[in-house]
Symmetry: C2
DNA sequence: TACTTTAGTGCAATCGTTTGTATCGCTGTC
DNA sequence: GACAGCGATACAAACGATTGCACTAAAGTA
């Protein structure tokens, strides 16, 4: 069916090994032979079979990227940065979405095994035990979650949460709400810990919630009931949904209630009011994760955790507390 | 390194072919042997090497999905539906993003070749010639673009555009603007044709624009300058950006200008004003595309085009023309 | 001239599976 | 009692590449 290396060899009157080398070890073959072989290959429309190549070399030159939810605008910048970085290193990225389902996630890792050289696990919802186990099957780098003994890229959302709380406190808010995310989420846990460590103001915890606009929309009732005047939402999507939900209940943002999101996604910059948020260095995380992964693919894995800085971006969804 | 079928064979005292059949042709092996082999395989942590399997069977049980821009909320529902449908058929979906770059797109198709059984090409920006050529390398289904001679899934955006124009006309608007998308976009072309066929009202064409919020934001100046009171935007992102841009120029929506988007993405349902839009059956498109692809993988390709219906959803961004 | 290098190429094993065919020991049939 | 039929398993040839090694001929060295 498809044209193989053998066809090229026959057409050019050389051995398959010469054709192979014409592509992957040019210095070992006579320049003339090489150009002739390449020309014929081009002519015949030869494409190396990457699966076959992977079988002998043990390298696919692919990396897998697993995210919890492709629909979450948090991920695309990370994905794009990872893709760009991989391309620089002559690698390709295959993305898959788990739909926030740990079972699907595990299944996907199994599928990726042997089809990619390593996996970028973004915001995994798996248990630590499972991650530990799967690690034997394929090298990976974990992003956005603490995982002992393996390379990890983190964003300092704890510090971000502290800055957010300080910001709200400085504006005079005395009762805050934290709208938490999914239960398996490391980010959510970090935020909760940061909030729990606050002594100056009261913080109530509301959740877990789906990390989506609808999750925020649904949380509005509880937020109003909590009596909080300042809210830190799990992410910008939740914040946007929440603001909408609050509006439906007659609460203005930031007039009645201040809201802070996390991620600094584009929609948040265009919503009204423009969202005050904790910016996450997602693109940098994607780039670094790829580098760490490729590094740990052909040398020993560095088990270090890289922590990236976050920043509070004050826009229009936070204001002075009235009281 | 990794445990292979040979290790399992040796450990269980049978031939590799028996182990292979224990997995893929259970009825050909003694039930006792089978359970023993499976147990030992489990014990050893054996995972079939899918690349090796693909080499002999010619089936990877993967499908590739190529989109122009993962960050565009239009795609996730399509991707998720495709993934779900593929899972039903025991297939996995690998997603890749072209960043709207035809060169990257072609490159990705090459990479997918032999690593997937077929490719879903969503909103491709390639030329027809190139698509035609690449078709020989790997079967694919084209989504959201007309492509002769190969299976195609389309959404009737032309009819949607006509409904949108009728809606605006009925509201009394007499001068409309069409904010077009990228030049390679089939959707954009369809909309332009539909608009050009309108005789009742004036339509000015503004573009091409990037299919993003920023594209819409930037188009606001031209829209104001055009004197149009009704606008059909290339998609919801553009519409949202446009509404923001109009606001910055003191134009209220729908008070001064009515805006209609395309896609019916979630952010549009939560923005203020809630967006009037043309809903695209993206999830259905994803499902159908997967079925068509798998169908054309193991039988002859049906070159038919499937056209799915769109619907106008009237929300708050359109209103009566004042004059 | 004889010997070592070296460049260029061919040979064949290998990667981990699948799968068509051969083998073998039974059972059942006439 | 010879043989067909069959269930269960082994053998070996693929699949499409890569790669260590062997070989040849020409070039370099003393």
């Amino acid at each position: 069916m498809a044209v193989t290396i053998r066809d090229v060899a026959e057409a050019s009157g050389v051995h398959v090994s010469t054709v192979s080398r014409a592509f992957s070890a040019p210095h070992l073959v006579n320049p003339e032979t090489r150009t002739r072989v390449l020309a014929i290959a081009e002519d015949l429309g030869y494409r190396p079979n990457r699966a076959a190549r992977a079988l002998t070399t043990g390298r696919t030159h692919n990396i897998g990227l697993i995210v919890a939810d492709i629909a979450n605008p948090f991920f695309p910048p990370l994905i794009k940065a990872a893709q760009a970085q991989a391309r620089l290193r002559d690698y390709h990225v295959f993305v898959a979405d788990t739909d926030e389902d740990p079972q699907v996630e595990e299944d996907l890792i199994q599928t990726f095994t042997k089809q990619v050289d390593g996996v970028l696990l973004c915001s995994p919802r798996l248990t630590n035990r499972t991650i530990e186990r799967l690690r034997e099957e394929v090298p990976f780098v974990v992003v956005n979650r603490r995982a002992k003994g393996m390379p990890t890229v983190l964003m300092d959302v704890g510090r971000g949460a502290r800055m957010a709380i300080e910001h709200l406190t400085a504006l005079g808010h005395r009762r805050l709400a934290l709208v938490t995310g999914p239960s398996g989420s490391w980010t959510s846990k970090e935020m909760q810990e940061a909030a729990a460590a606050t002594s100056e103001v009261d913080v109530v915890f509301l959740g877990p919630n789906p990390p989506t606009e609808l999750g925020g929309l649904a949380a509005a009732t509880d937020v109003v009931a909590s009596g909080a005047t300042g809210v830190l939402a799990y992410n910008d999507l939740v914040a946007i949904g929440l603001i909408e939900g609050l509006a439906e209940r007659g609460k203005e943002v930031p007039g009645d209630i201040s809201v802070i999101g996390v991620d600094d996604i584009v929609p948040g910059r265009l919503s009204r009011p423009k969202l005050t948020t904790i910016a996450m260095p997602t693109a940098a995380a994607g780039r670094i994760a790829v580098d760490l992964l490729l590094q740990s693919v052909d040398s020993a894995a560095t088990a270090a955790a890289t922590m990236l800085e976050t920043a509070l971006i004050v826009r229009e969804s936070t204001g002075k507390a009235h009281r």
